[in-house]
Amino acid sequence: MRAPAIHRVTPRCLLLKWKSAHLTEVSEDIRTYSDWLRANFSSELLEVTPAYTELAIYLNAESHAEPIQKALETFSLDAPQNNSNKIVSRKITIPVCYEGEFASDIERVAKFNQLSIQQVIKLHSEATYTVAFIGFLPGFPYVTGLPDALHTPRLSSPRPRITAGSVGIGGNQTGVYPQDSPGGWNIIGRTPIPLFNPLATSPALLQAGDTLCFQPIDRSKFDDLTVSVRKGTFDSKIDVHD
Protein backbone atom coordinates (compact mmCIF):
# COMPACT_ATOMS: atom_id res chain seq x y z
CA MET A 1 0.00 0.00 0.00
CA ARG A 2 1.20 3.49 -0.80
CA ALA A 3 1.03 6.42 1.60
CA PRO A 4 -0.55 9.65 0.38
CA ALA A 5 0.63 13.21 0.90
CA ILE A 6 -1.60 14.88 3.51
CA HIS A 7 -2.74 18.46 2.91
CA ARG A 8 -4.71 20.50 5.39
CA VAL A 9 -7.16 22.56 3.33
CA THR A 10 -9.14 24.21 6.15
CA PRO A 11 -9.25 23.61 9.91
CA ARG A 12 -11.89 20.96 9.16
CA CYS A 13 -10.80 19.48 5.87
CA LEU A 14 -7.87 17.25 4.92
CA LEU A 15 -7.02 16.20 1.40
CA LEU A 16 -5.05 13.01 0.80
CA LYS A 17 -3.22 12.94 -2.54
CA TRP A 18 -1.59 9.90 -4.08
CA LYS A 19 1.05 10.12 -6.79
CA SER A 20 -0.17 7.92 -9.59
CA ALA A 21 0.71 7.43 -13.21
CA HIS A 22 -2.61 5.69 -13.96
CA LEU A 23 -6.01 6.58 -12.64
CA THR A 24 -6.69 3.04 -11.47
CA GLU A 25 -3.46 2.45 -9.55
CA VAL A 26 -4.46 3.82 -6.17
CA SER A 27 -8.19 3.15 -6.00
CA GLU A 28 -7.73 0.19 -3.61
CA ASP A 29 -5.52 2.32 -1.35
CA ILE A 30 -8.16 5.06 -1.33
CA ARG A 31 -10.78 2.51 -0.30
CA THR A 32 -8.54 1.17 2.48
CA TYR A 33 -8.05 4.69 3.85
CA SER A 34 -11.79 5.48 3.54
CA ASP A 35 -12.77 2.34 5.45
CA TRP A 36 -10.15 2.94 8.14
CA LEU A 37 -11.28 6.55 8.62
CA ARG A 38 -14.95 5.59 8.80
CA ALA A 39 -14.17 2.87 11.34
CA ASN A 40 -11.95 4.99 13.59
CA PHE A 41 -13.24 8.56 13.37
CA SER A 42 -17.00 8.17 12.98
CA SER A 43 -17.69 10.83 15.62
CA GLU A 44 -15.41 13.40 13.95
CA LEU A 45 -16.29 12.77 10.30
CA LEU A 46 -19.03 14.40 8.31
CA GLU A 47 -17.99 12.22 5.40
CA VAL A 48 -15.12 11.23 3.13
CA THR A 49 -15.26 11.80 -0.62
CA PRO A 50 -13.00 9.86 -2.99
CA ALA A 51 -11.92 10.83 -6.51
CA TYR A 52 -9.39 9.20 -8.90
CA THR A 53 -6.22 9.83 -6.87
CA GLU A 54 -7.48 11.84 -3.89
CA LEU A 55 -9.62 11.47 -0.80
CA ALA A 56 -11.24 14.49 0.87
CA ILE A 57 -11.91 14.18 4.60
CA TYR A 58 -14.61 16.52 5.89
CA LEU A 59 -14.91 16.98 9.65
CA ASN A 60 -17.83 18.29 11.69
CA ALA A 61 -17.78 21.69 13.39
CA GLU A 62 -16.72 20.25 16.77
CA SER A 63 -13.62 18.52 15.40
CA HIS A 64 -10.21 19.67 14.26
CA ALA A 65 -7.97 18.28 11.53
CA GLU A 66 -4.77 18.12 13.57
CA PRO A 67 -5.26 14.89 15.61
CA ILE A 68 -6.62 13.08 12.57
CA GLN A 69 -3.67 14.26 10.49
CA LYS A 70 -1.30 12.83 13.15
CA ALA A 71 -3.19 9.52 13.21
CA LEU A 72 -3.08 9.35 9.40
CA GLU A 73 0.69 9.84 9.37
CA THR A 74 1.11 6.90 11.77
CA PHE A 75 -1.37 4.75 9.81
CA SER A 76 0.59 5.41 6.63
CA LEU A 77 3.78 4.12 8.30
CA ASP A 78 2.19 1.08 9.97
CA ALA A 79 -0.14 0.04 7.21
CA PRO A 80 0.42 -3.47 5.90
CA GLN A 81 2.15 -3.69 2.54
CA ASN A 82 -0.47 -6.07 1.26
CA ASN A 83 -3.95 -5.12 2.04
CA SER A 84 -5.24 -7.98 4.20
CA ASN A 85 -8.79 -6.64 4.48
CA LYS A 86 -10.96 -8.39 1.99
CA ILE A 87 -12.75 -5.78 -0.03
CA VAL A 88 -16.18 -6.87 -1.10
CA SER A 89 -16.82 -5.96 -4.68
CA ARG A 90 -20.06 -5.84 -6.57
CA LYS A 91 -20.67 -6.47 -10.25
CA ILE A 92 -23.49 -4.52 -11.82
CA THR A 93 -24.83 -5.02 -15.33
CA ILE A 94 -26.62 -2.09 -16.93
CA PRO A 95 -28.80 -2.81 -19.99
CA VAL A 96 -28.25 -0.27 -22.79
CA CYS A 97 -30.19 0.28 -25.99
CA TYR A 98 -27.66 1.53 -28.56
CA GLU A 99 -30.35 2.26 -31.19
CA GLY A 100 -31.98 5.16 -33.02
CA GLU A 101 -32.81 8.33 -31.12
CA PHE A 102 -30.94 7.02 -28.04
CA ALA A 103 -27.62 6.94 -29.94
CA SER A 104 -27.44 10.39 -31.50
CA ASP A 105 -23.61 10.47 -31.59
CA ILE A 106 -22.74 6.80 -32.16
CA GLU A 107 -21.97 7.52 -35.81
CA ARG A 108 -19.56 10.29 -34.80
CA VAL A 109 -17.80 7.90 -32.39
CA ALA A 110 -17.60 5.23 -35.12
CA LYS A 111 -16.28 7.65 -37.74
CA PHE A 112 -13.71 9.20 -35.41
CA ASN A 113 -12.31 5.77 -34.54
CA GLN A 114 -12.74 4.30 -38.03
CA LEU A 115 -15.09 1.60 -36.78
CA SER A 116 -18.53 0.38 -37.76
CA ILE A 117 -21.44 1.13 -35.44
CA GLN A 118 -21.65 -2.60 -34.66
CA GLN A 119 -17.97 -2.57 -33.63
CA VAL A 120 -18.58 0.42 -31.33
CA ILE A 121 -21.43 -1.43 -29.61
CA LYS A 122 -19.37 -4.63 -29.33
CA LEU A 123 -16.32 -2.86 -27.89
CA HIS A 124 -18.36 -0.77 -25.45
CA SER A 125 -20.48 -3.66 -24.18
CA GLU A 126 -17.75 -6.31 -23.98
CA ALA A 127 -15.39 -4.23 -21.86
CA THR A 128 -15.38 -4.47 -18.07
CA TYR A 129 -15.35 -1.15 -16.22
CA THR A 130 -14.62 -0.03 -12.68
CA VAL A 131 -16.50 2.76 -10.90
CA ALA A 132 -13.70 5.01 -9.63
CA PHE A 133 -16.02 7.34 -7.73
CA ILE A 134 -19.35 9.18 -7.93
CA GLY A 135 -19.30 12.93 -8.61
CA PHE A 136 -20.47 15.83 -10.81
CA LEU A 137 -24.18 15.00 -10.31
CA PRO A 138 -26.04 12.80 -7.79
CA GLY A 139 -25.26 9.21 -8.80
CA PHE A 140 -22.99 10.08 -11.78
CA PRO A 141 -20.28 7.39 -12.02
CA TYR A 142 -16.73 8.19 -13.08
CA VAL A 143 -15.70 4.99 -14.77
CA THR A 144 -12.34 3.61 -15.90
CA GLY A 145 -11.81 0.91 -18.49
CA LEU A 146 -13.05 2.46 -21.74
CA PRO A 147 -11.15 0.71 -24.57
CA ASP A 148 -8.62 3.01 -26.30
CA ALA A 149 -10.34 2.34 -29.63
CA LEU A 150 -13.43 4.22 -28.38
CA HIS A 151 -11.78 7.38 -27.02
CA THR A 152 -13.59 10.30 -28.70
CA PRO A 153 -13.28 14.04 -28.02
CA ARG A 154 -16.21 15.77 -26.31
CA LEU A 155 -18.61 17.80 -28.44
CA SER A 156 -17.22 21.25 -29.19
CA SER A 157 -20.15 22.84 -27.36
CA PRO A 158 -22.19 21.05 -24.69
CA ARG A 159 -25.88 20.29 -25.31
CA PRO A 160 -28.27 22.12 -22.99
CA ARG A 161 -30.20 18.95 -22.15
CA ILE A 162 -29.16 15.31 -22.10
CA THR A 163 -31.93 12.87 -21.14
CA ALA A 164 -31.52 10.85 -17.93
CA GLY A 165 -30.16 7.37 -18.64
CA SER A 166 -28.08 8.49 -21.64
CA VAL A 167 -24.78 6.64 -22.00
CA GLY A 168 -21.93 8.74 -23.30
CA ILE A 169 -18.27 8.86 -24.22
CA GLY A 170 -16.19 11.95 -23.41
CA GLY A 171 -12.48 11.70 -24.17
CA ASN A 172 -11.22 8.56 -22.41
CA GLN A 173 -14.27 8.33 -20.15
CA THR A 174 -17.66 6.68 -20.43
CA GLY A 175 -20.63 6.96 -18.13
CA VAL A 176 -24.36 7.34 -17.66
CA TYR A 177 -26.26 10.60 -16.97
CA PRO A 178 -28.36 9.87 -13.86
CA GLN A 179 -30.70 12.83 -14.47
CA ASP A 180 -31.52 15.32 -17.20
CA SER A 181 -28.62 17.75 -17.38
CA PRO A 182 -26.47 19.73 -19.79
CA GLY A 183 -23.56 17.71 -21.13
CA GLY A 184 -20.84 17.56 -23.75
CA TRP A 185 -20.31 13.83 -24.16
CA ASN A 186 -21.05 11.79 -27.31
CA ILE A 187 -24.31 9.96 -26.63
CA ILE A 188 -24.22 6.33 -27.82
CA GLY A 189 -27.16 4.72 -26.02
CA ARG A 190 -29.66 4.87 -23.20
CA THR A 191 -30.51 2.68 -20.21
CA PRO A 192 -34.04 2.41 -18.81
CA ILE A 193 -32.58 1.72 -15.34
CA PRO A 194 -32.59 4.64 -12.88
CA LEU A 195 -29.12 5.34 -11.46
CA PHE A 196 -30.34 7.58 -8.68
CA ASN A 197 -33.48 7.64 -6.56
CA PRO A 198 -33.43 10.05 -3.62
CA LEU A 199 -36.29 8.18 -1.92
CA ALA A 200 -34.57 4.77 -1.94
CA THR A 201 -32.66 3.39 1.06
CA SER A 202 -29.54 3.27 -1.16
CA PRO A 203 -30.14 6.29 -3.41
CA ALA A 204 -27.31 5.57 -5.86
CA LEU A 205 -27.24 2.34 -7.91
CA LEU A 206 -23.45 2.49 -8.21
CA GLN A 207 -20.69 3.09 -5.69
CA ALA A 208 -16.91 3.49 -5.84
CA GLY A 209 -15.22 0.12 -6.47
CA ASP A 210 -18.10 -1.51 -8.33
CA THR A 211 -17.39 -3.54 -11.46
CA LEU A 212 -19.65 -2.35 -14.24
CA CYS A 213 -20.77 -3.96 -17.50
CA PHE A 214 -23.11 -2.78 -20.23
CA GLN A 215 -25.46 -5.28 -21.89
CA PRO A 216 -26.93 -4.40 -25.31
CA ILE A 217 -30.73 -4.59 -25.51
CA ASP A 218 -33.10 -3.81 -28.38
CA ARG A 219 -35.84 -1.20 -28.39
CA SER A 220 -38.63 -3.58 -27.37
CA LYS A 221 -36.61 -4.86 -24.38
CA PHE A 222 -35.93 -1.19 -23.47
CA ASP A 223 -39.68 -0.49 -23.52
CA ASP A 224 -40.43 -3.62 -21.42
CA LEU A 225 -37.84 -2.62 -18.82
CA THR A 226 -39.17 0.95 -18.77
CA VAL A 227 -42.58 -0.45 -17.86
CA SER A 228 -41.23 -2.72 -15.12
CA VAL A 229 -39.17 0.15 -13.69
CA ARG A 230 -42.32 2.28 -13.61
CA LYS A 231 -44.31 -0.52 -11.93
CA GLY A 232 -41.52 -1.06 -9.42
CA THR A 233 -41.04 -4.70 -10.41
CA PHE A 234 -37.56 -4.25 -11.88
CA ASP A 235 -34.67 -5.50 -9.78
CA SER A 236 -31.12 -4.51 -10.76
CA LYS A 237 -28.76 -7.40 -11.26
CA ILE A 238 -26.07 -7.00 -8.63
CA ASP A 239 -23.64 -9.82 -7.93
CA VAL A 240 -21.69 -9.52 -4.72
CA HIS A 241 -18.48 -11.47 -4.30
CA ASP A 242 -15.32 -11.29 -2.20
Binding site: H7, R8, V9, T10, P11, C13, L15, K17, L23, L46, E47, V48, T49, P50, A51, Y52, T53, E54, L55, A56, Y58, F133, I134, G135, F136, L137, P138, G139, F140, Y142, Q179, F196, P198, L199, P203, A204, Q207, A208
Partner: protein, 281 residues
Amino acid sequence: MIEVIHAGLYTSIQDVGRYGYRNLGVPLSGVMDRQSAEYANEILGNDKNKALIEFTLQGPTLKFTLSTEICCTGATFQLLLNKSAVPMNKAITVKPGDVLSIATTKEGMRGYLAVRGGIQTKQIMGSRSFYQGITTDHILKKGMKIPLHSHVENRAAATYATPPKPFTTNAVEVYVGPEFHRLTTNVQQALLAKSFKISPQSNRMAYVLESTASLAAAEIVTGPVQTGTVQLTPSGTLVVLMRDAQTTGGYSRVLQLTERAISQLSQKRGGEMVRFELLEL
Protein backbone atom coordinates in the same frame (compact mmCIF):
# COMPACT_ATOMS: atom_id res chain seq x y z
CA MET B 1 -49.39 26.50 7.00
CA ILE B 2 -47.96 29.20 4.77
CA GLU B 3 -49.58 29.78 1.39
CA VAL B 4 -47.40 31.25 -1.35
CA ILE B 5 -49.22 34.24 -2.93
CA HIS B 6 -46.19 35.43 -4.94
CA ALA B 7 -43.02 33.38 -5.06
CA GLY B 8 -40.50 36.23 -5.47
CA LEU B 9 -37.48 36.13 -7.74
CA TYR B 10 -35.74 32.98 -6.43
CA THR B 11 -37.16 31.61 -3.21
CA SER B 12 -36.44 28.19 -1.72
CA ILE B 13 -36.53 26.23 1.51
CA GLN B 14 -33.12 25.58 3.05
CA ASP B 15 -31.64 24.21 6.25
CA VAL B 16 -27.92 23.74 7.02
CA GLY B 17 -27.65 21.22 4.21
CA ARG B 18 -27.64 17.59 3.18
CA TYR B 19 -24.60 15.95 4.76
CA GLY B 20 -23.33 12.40 4.40
CA TYR B 21 -23.93 11.88 0.67
CA ARG B 22 -21.06 13.70 -1.03
CA ASN B 23 -19.57 10.30 -1.95
CA LEU B 24 -22.76 9.76 -4.00
CA GLY B 25 -22.27 13.08 -5.77
CA VAL B 26 -25.02 14.84 -3.81
CA PRO B 27 -24.32 18.55 -3.22
CA LEU B 28 -24.60 19.90 0.32
CA SER B 29 -27.08 22.68 -0.53
CA GLY B 30 -28.28 24.62 2.53
CA VAL B 31 -28.59 28.32 3.36
CA MET B 32 -26.22 30.56 1.38
CA ASP B 33 -25.67 33.03 4.25
CA ARG B 34 -25.39 30.74 7.24
CA GLN B 35 -24.71 33.62 9.60
CA SER B 36 -28.01 35.41 8.85
CA ALA B 37 -30.03 32.18 8.81
CA GLU B 38 -28.70 31.10 12.21
CA TYR B 39 -29.50 34.54 13.61
CA ALA B 40 -33.14 34.30 12.47
CA ASN B 41 -33.53 30.92 14.15
CA GLU B 42 -31.78 32.15 17.28
CA ILE B 43 -34.14 35.13 17.66
CA LEU B 44 -37.10 32.73 17.65
CA GLY B 45 -35.45 30.28 20.03
CA ASN B 46 -35.16 27.60 17.33
CA ASP B 47 -32.26 25.21 16.87
CA LYS B 48 -29.87 26.83 14.42
CA ASN B 49 -30.36 24.06 11.86
CA LYS B 50 -34.13 24.56 11.46
CA ALA B 51 -35.35 24.92 7.88
CA LEU B 52 -36.36 28.41 6.77
CA ILE B 53 -37.25 30.30 3.61
CA GLU B 54 -34.41 31.89 1.64
CA PHE B 55 -35.30 34.65 -0.83
CA THR B 56 -33.23 36.60 -3.33
CA LEU B 57 -33.40 40.33 -4.35
CA GLN B 58 -37.22 40.32 -4.59
CA GLY B 59 -38.96 38.51 -1.75
CA PRO B 60 -42.18 36.47 -1.70
CA THR B 61 -45.70 37.35 -0.52
CA LEU B 62 -46.92 34.79 1.99
CA LYS B 63 -50.23 34.17 3.76
CA PHE B 64 -50.32 32.48 7.16
CA THR B 65 -53.17 30.14 8.11
CA LEU B 66 -52.22 29.84 11.78
CA SER B 67 -50.79 31.86 14.66
CA THR B 68 -47.04 31.74 15.06
CA GLU B 69 -43.94 33.87 15.36
CA ILE B 70 -41.69 34.73 12.45
CA CYS B 71 -38.43 36.62 11.95
CA CYS B 72 -36.66 38.00 8.87
CA THR B 73 -32.90 38.53 8.68
CA GLY B 74 -30.21 38.96 6.05
CA ALA B 75 -30.08 41.77 3.48
CA THR B 76 -32.23 44.80 4.40
CA PHE B 77 -35.55 43.94 2.74
CA GLN B 78 -38.66 46.08 3.21
CA LEU B 79 -41.35 44.06 5.03
CA LEU B 80 -45.08 44.72 5.12
CA LEU B 81 -47.43 42.76 7.37
CA ASN B 82 -51.00 43.45 6.18
CA LYS B 83 -49.61 46.57 4.50
CA SER B 84 -47.98 48.00 7.67
CA ALA B 85 -44.19 48.15 7.89
CA VAL B 86 -42.59 45.65 10.28
CA PRO B 87 -38.90 45.44 11.23
CA MET B 88 -36.22 42.95 10.21
CA ASN B 89 -34.26 41.10 12.93
CA LYS B 90 -37.20 41.03 15.39
CA ALA B 91 -39.71 38.35 16.32
CA ILE B 92 -43.11 39.21 14.82
CA THR B 93 -46.40 37.57 15.82
CA VAL B 94 -48.67 36.59 12.94
CA LYS B 95 -52.31 35.43 13.02
CA PRO B 96 -54.41 33.36 10.62
CA GLY B 97 -55.08 35.36 7.45
CA ASP B 98 -52.09 37.70 7.89
CA VAL B 99 -50.17 38.47 4.71
CA LEU B 100 -46.46 39.22 4.76
CA SER B 101 -45.06 40.97 1.67
CA ILE B 102 -41.32 41.01 1.35
CA ALA B 103 -40.34 43.65 -1.18
CA THR B 104 -36.85 44.43 -2.46
CA THR B 105 -33.52 45.23 -0.93
CA LYS B 106 -31.26 48.15 -1.80
CA GLU B 107 -28.14 46.30 -0.79
CA GLY B 108 -27.25 42.67 -0.22
CA MET B 109 -28.70 39.66 -2.01
CA ARG B 110 -30.51 37.27 0.29
CA GLY B 111 -32.96 37.28 3.15
CA TYR B 112 -34.30 34.60 5.49
CA LEU B 113 -37.72 34.03 7.00
CA ALA B 114 -37.65 31.77 10.04
CA VAL B 115 -40.79 30.42 11.69
CA ARG B 116 -41.17 29.12 15.26
CA GLY B 117 -40.28 25.42 15.20
CA GLY B 118 -39.01 25.58 11.62
CA ILE B 119 -40.55 24.79 8.23
CA GLN B 120 -41.97 21.24 8.24
CA THR B 121 -41.66 20.10 4.63
CA LYS B 122 -40.61 16.48 4.09
CA GLN B 123 -36.98 15.60 4.74
CA ILE B 124 -35.29 13.88 1.81
CA MET B 125 -31.92 12.25 2.47
CA GLY B 126 -31.79 13.90 5.87
CA SER B 127 -32.50 17.48 4.79
CA ARG B 128 -35.29 19.83 3.73
CA SER B 129 -32.99 21.89 1.48
CA PHE B 130 -34.40 22.26 -2.02
CA TYR B 131 -32.23 20.85 -4.78
CA GLN B 132 -33.29 19.83 -8.29
CA GLY B 133 -33.35 16.06 -8.67
CA ILE B 134 -33.50 15.46 -4.91
CA THR B 135 -36.56 17.40 -3.73
CA THR B 136 -39.77 17.59 -5.78
CA ASP B 137 -39.38 21.34 -6.23
CA HIS B 138 -36.29 23.51 -6.43
CA ILE B 139 -38.02 26.87 -5.94
CA LEU B 140 -41.25 28.02 -4.30
CA LYS B 141 -44.16 28.49 -6.69
CA LYS B 142 -47.39 30.45 -6.46
CA GLY B 143 -50.09 28.44 -4.69
CA MET B 144 -47.74 26.12 -2.80
CA LYS B 145 -48.65 25.33 0.79
CA ILE B 146 -45.77 25.03 3.25
CA PRO B 147 -46.43 23.01 6.40
CA LEU B 148 -45.58 24.45 9.82
CA HIS B 149 -45.97 23.22 13.39
CA SER B 150 -49.64 23.77 14.14
CA HIS B 151 -49.08 24.10 17.85
CA VAL B 152 -46.44 26.54 19.00
CA GLU B 153 -45.79 26.51 22.73
CA ASN B 154 -45.33 29.69 24.65
CA ARG B 155 -41.73 30.39 25.26
CA ALA B 156 -39.85 32.28 27.91
CA ALA B 157 -39.21 35.97 27.25
CA ALA B 158 -36.97 36.32 24.21
CA THR B 159 -33.33 35.83 24.92
CA TYR B 160 -31.57 38.56 23.04
CA ALA B 161 -29.50 36.98 20.36
CA THR B 162 -26.27 38.76 19.50
CA PRO B 163 -26.48 40.29 16.03
CA PRO B 164 -23.81 38.87 13.72
CA LYS B 165 -20.98 41.10 12.59
CA PRO B 166 -22.17 42.82 9.40
CA PHE B 167 -20.33 42.16 6.15
CA THR B 168 -18.90 45.62 5.60
CA THR B 169 -15.69 44.85 3.76
CA ASN B 170 -14.86 43.66 0.24
CA ALA B 171 -12.05 41.49 1.60
CA VAL B 172 -12.93 37.78 1.51
CA GLU B 173 -10.84 35.56 3.77
CA VAL B 174 -9.22 32.52 2.14
CA TYR B 175 -6.74 29.73 2.72
CA VAL B 176 -4.44 28.56 -0.07
CA GLY B 177 -6.02 25.80 -2.17
CA PRO B 178 -4.44 22.45 -3.13
CA GLU B 179 -3.11 23.78 -6.48
CA PHE B 180 -2.04 27.28 -5.33
CA HIS B 181 1.62 26.29 -5.19
CA ARG B 182 1.55 25.11 -8.82
CA LEU B 183 0.72 28.62 -10.05
CA THR B 184 3.47 30.93 -11.26
CA THR B 185 4.56 33.59 -8.77
CA ASN B 186 2.97 36.26 -10.96
CA VAL B 187 -0.41 34.53 -10.92
CA GLN B 188 -0.19 33.93 -7.15
CA GLN B 189 0.56 37.60 -6.55
CA ALA B 190 -2.18 38.80 -8.90
CA LEU B 191 -4.77 36.55 -7.22
CA LEU B 192 -4.04 38.07 -3.83
CA ALA B 193 -3.48 41.68 -4.94
CA LYS B 194 -6.22 42.41 -7.50
CA SER B 195 -9.91 43.08 -7.00
CA PHE B 196 -12.37 41.01 -9.02
CA LYS B 197 -15.82 41.94 -10.27
CA ILE B 198 -18.71 39.55 -9.50
CA SER B 199 -20.49 38.41 -12.67
CA PRO B 200 -24.30 38.75 -12.76
CA GLN B 201 -24.55 35.05 -13.71
CA SER B 202 -23.58 34.08 -10.14
CA ASN B 203 -26.06 31.80 -8.35
CA ARG B 204 -26.45 29.24 -5.56
CA MET B 205 -24.10 26.88 -7.38
CA ALA B 206 -21.21 29.26 -8.02
CA TYR B 207 -20.09 32.87 -8.02
CA VAL B 208 -18.21 33.74 -11.18
CA LEU B 209 -15.55 36.46 -10.95
CA GLU B 210 -14.52 38.45 -13.99
CA SER B 211 -10.82 38.96 -13.97
CA THR B 212 -8.99 41.53 -16.05
CA ALA B 213 -5.62 40.14 -15.04
CA SER B 214 -4.12 37.48 -17.29
CA LEU B 215 -4.71 34.56 -14.95
CA ALA B 216 -4.92 30.95 -15.98
CA ALA B 217 -4.28 27.48 -14.59
CA ALA B 218 -4.10 24.01 -16.10
CA GLU B 219 -6.88 21.48 -15.64
CA ILE B 220 -6.32 18.76 -13.03
CA VAL B 221 -7.30 15.11 -12.71
CA THR B 222 -10.88 15.33 -11.36
CA GLY B 223 -10.69 15.67 -7.58
CA PRO B 224 -12.93 16.61 -4.63
CA VAL B 225 -14.20 20.21 -4.40
CA GLN B 226 -16.33 21.84 -1.73
CA THR B 227 -18.33 24.94 -0.95
CA GLY B 228 -15.92 27.87 -0.96
CA THR B 229 -13.39 26.27 -3.32
CA VAL B 230 -12.04 28.87 -5.78
CA GLN B 231 -11.35 27.27 -9.17
CA LEU B 232 -9.21 28.88 -11.84
CA THR B 233 -9.94 27.74 -15.38
CA PRO B 234 -7.49 27.50 -18.32
CA SER B 235 -9.28 30.49 -19.90
CA GLY B 236 -8.77 32.59 -16.78
CA THR B 237 -12.20 32.60 -15.14
CA LEU B 238 -12.41 32.41 -11.35
CA VAL B 239 -15.28 30.26 -10.12
CA VAL B 240 -16.13 30.30 -6.41
CA LEU B 241 -18.19 27.22 -5.63
CA MET B 242 -21.21 27.89 -3.43
CA ARG B 243 -23.72 25.73 -1.51
CA ASP B 244 -25.26 23.85 -4.47
CA ALA B 245 -21.88 23.08 -6.04
CA GLN B 246 -20.92 19.69 -7.43
CA THR B 247 -18.77 17.43 -5.23
CA THR B 248 -15.84 16.90 -7.64
CA GLY B 249 -14.25 19.04 -10.32
CA GLY B 250 -11.45 19.21 -12.85
CA TYR B 251 -10.21 22.80 -12.54
CA SER B 252 -7.28 23.94 -10.39
CA ARG B 253 -8.35 24.63 -6.80
CA VAL B 254 -6.35 27.75 -6.08
CA LEU B 255 -7.99 29.16 -2.93
CA GLN B 256 -10.51 28.06 -0.30
CA LEU B 257 -12.92 30.49 1.39
CA THR B 258 -13.51 30.32 5.15
CA GLU B 259 -17.03 29.44 6.30
CA ARG B 260 -17.72 33.07 7.23
CA ALA B 261 -16.42 34.26 3.84
CA ILE B 262 -18.92 31.99 2.04
CA SER B 263 -21.80 33.67 3.91
CA GLN B 264 -20.25 37.07 3.24
CA LEU B 265 -19.85 36.47 -0.51
CA SER B 266 -23.42 35.17 -0.81
CA GLN B 267 -24.68 38.65 0.13
CA LYS B 268 -22.75 40.32 -2.70
CA ARG B 269 -24.35 41.14 -6.04
CA GLY B 270 -23.26 41.04 -9.64
CA GLY B 271 -21.10 44.10 -10.32
CA GLU B 272 -19.65 44.36 -6.80
CA MET B 273 -15.90 43.96 -6.33
CA VAL B 274 -14.13 41.53 -4.01
CA ARG B 275 -10.52 40.80 -3.17
CA PHE B 276 -8.98 37.81 -1.42
CA GLU B 277 -7.21 38.10 1.91
CA LEU B 278 -4.94 35.19 2.75
CA LEU B 279 -5.17 33.51 6.18
CA GLU B 280 -2.55 31.15 7.59
CA LEU B 281 -3.86 27.75 8.69
